[in-house]
């Protein structure tokens, strides 16, 4: 019994939480020590009984562990939203840039020097090639402002274990001048997931 392992090591051995060399050493010892072998069996039986009882407590579906939430959980509403926002942006940009200049005086001034510069202007934005060009330039101007300068952690931490079908991402300041967090709030107003922003170097 002089070289026997303490109870805590035997308990860790049962959970395979020892380094490989120590696992082998404990296994070798148990093969030759009836006393430690009996203690190990007692610890294993007690652990099984205790966790069988605790496992009777109902979990809400699968146990919710702190882990990166899969991106697909909210892609169902995210991508249509992005597409709709992009379409709206394109429409506004094309409408704004298509607005004609104020009309010049018409028949009162028939001189050709004034008519010639005005003629192409209403026609040019209607040309099919002009709209994508305008849209691209409008998007490229907007995009840098929409993306935060600070790097963010690229995953959310689920606050429960239910899939998130839809929701709104709200950004809140954690401390003035400090880190921020994005929170997904579902249609019932409950916070479903959190993502820390600006914490990674």
């Amino acid at each position: 019994m002089t070289n026997c392992w303490p109870e805590g090591v035997l308990r860790a051995y049962l959970d395979r939480e020892l380094p490989p060399a120590e696992m082998r050493a404990v296994a070798d010892h148990l093969a030759g020590c009836a006393e430690c072998d009996a203690l190990c069996a007692e610890l294993a039986g007690r652990a099984a009984r205790v966790f069988a009882l605790i496992d009777e407590l109902p979990a809400a579906g699968n146990a919710a562990r702190l882990r990166p939430a899969p991106a697909r959980t909210f892609s169902r509403w995210l991508w249509p939203g992005v597409a709709a926002a992009l379409a709206a942006g394109l429409a506004i940009a094309s409408f704004t840039l298509r607005r004609p200049e104020p009309p010049a005086p018409l028949a009162h001034n028939p001189a050709p020097v004034q008519r010639q510069p005005q003629a192409p202007e209403p026609v040019a934005p209607v040309a099919p090639a002009a709209v994508p060009a305008v849209a691209r330039s409008a998007v490229s101007r907007v995009a840098p402002r929409r993306r935060p300068a600070a790097p963010s952690m690229d995953y959310f931490v689920a606050l429960d274990d239910q899939p998130i079908d839809s929701g709104v991402i709200m950004r809140m300041a954690v401390q003035p001048g400090g880190a921020q967090a994005d929170i997904i709030v579902d249609p019932q107003g409950r916070a479903r997931a959190i993502r820390l922003v600006g914490t990674r170097q």
Partner: protein
């Protein structure tokens, strides 16, 4: 894990919201993901055990007032009563343990490895086995003391 502890999903969500509200006041935790996870687990289990104690007090008052009824059909009702009684016993014993022992058992039941347990509870990884063995022994001893040999 909070749902298992409180037995009420809505209540568990409230407790989780409180935990993240506390987190919002600890910006230094946001810098390190592992410290953050450990902090959340520790504070969440503490808050869950507090909620469990409050639930137990409320339950005793409601039992005394005869507020609990079961509307299921007789065989199902009997099963439900027995099941809920066992769950209530488990929660009672967990509530009676030292908070760290209860936290250890709950987090281990939730699947945390020894390294994660050590970080969550602020102890050395090498002492987790000893603490776990003692917590299990204490849980079993108290369960038997309260409810007989039926563990």
């Amino acid at each position: 894990m909070l749902t298992r502890l409180t037995g009420d999903r809505a209540h568990a969500e409230e407790v989780a919201a409180d935990v993240f509200h506390k987190l919002s006041r600890r910006p230094e935790l946001l810098a390190a993901q592992e410290d953050l996870n450990a902090w959340v687990y520790r504070v969440a289990t503490n808050a869950g055990l507090d909620a469990l104690r409050m639930n137990a007090r409320r339950r005793r008052r409601e039992d005394a007032a005869g507020l609990h009824t079961n509307t299921a059909s007789p065989p199902e009702a009997l099963d439900a009563i027995l099941r809920e009684e066992r769950r209530g016993r488990v929660r009672d014993v967990l509530e009676s343990l030292k908070p760290r022992d209860a936290q250890l058992l709950l987090l281990r039941a939730d699947g945390l490895a020894y390294r994660e347990l050590a970080r969550s509870l602020g102890v050395e990884p090498g002492s987790v086995g000893t603490m776990l063995a003692r917590a299990e022994a204490e849980f079993e001893r108290r369960f038997r003391a309260r409810y007989g040999e039926d563990v």
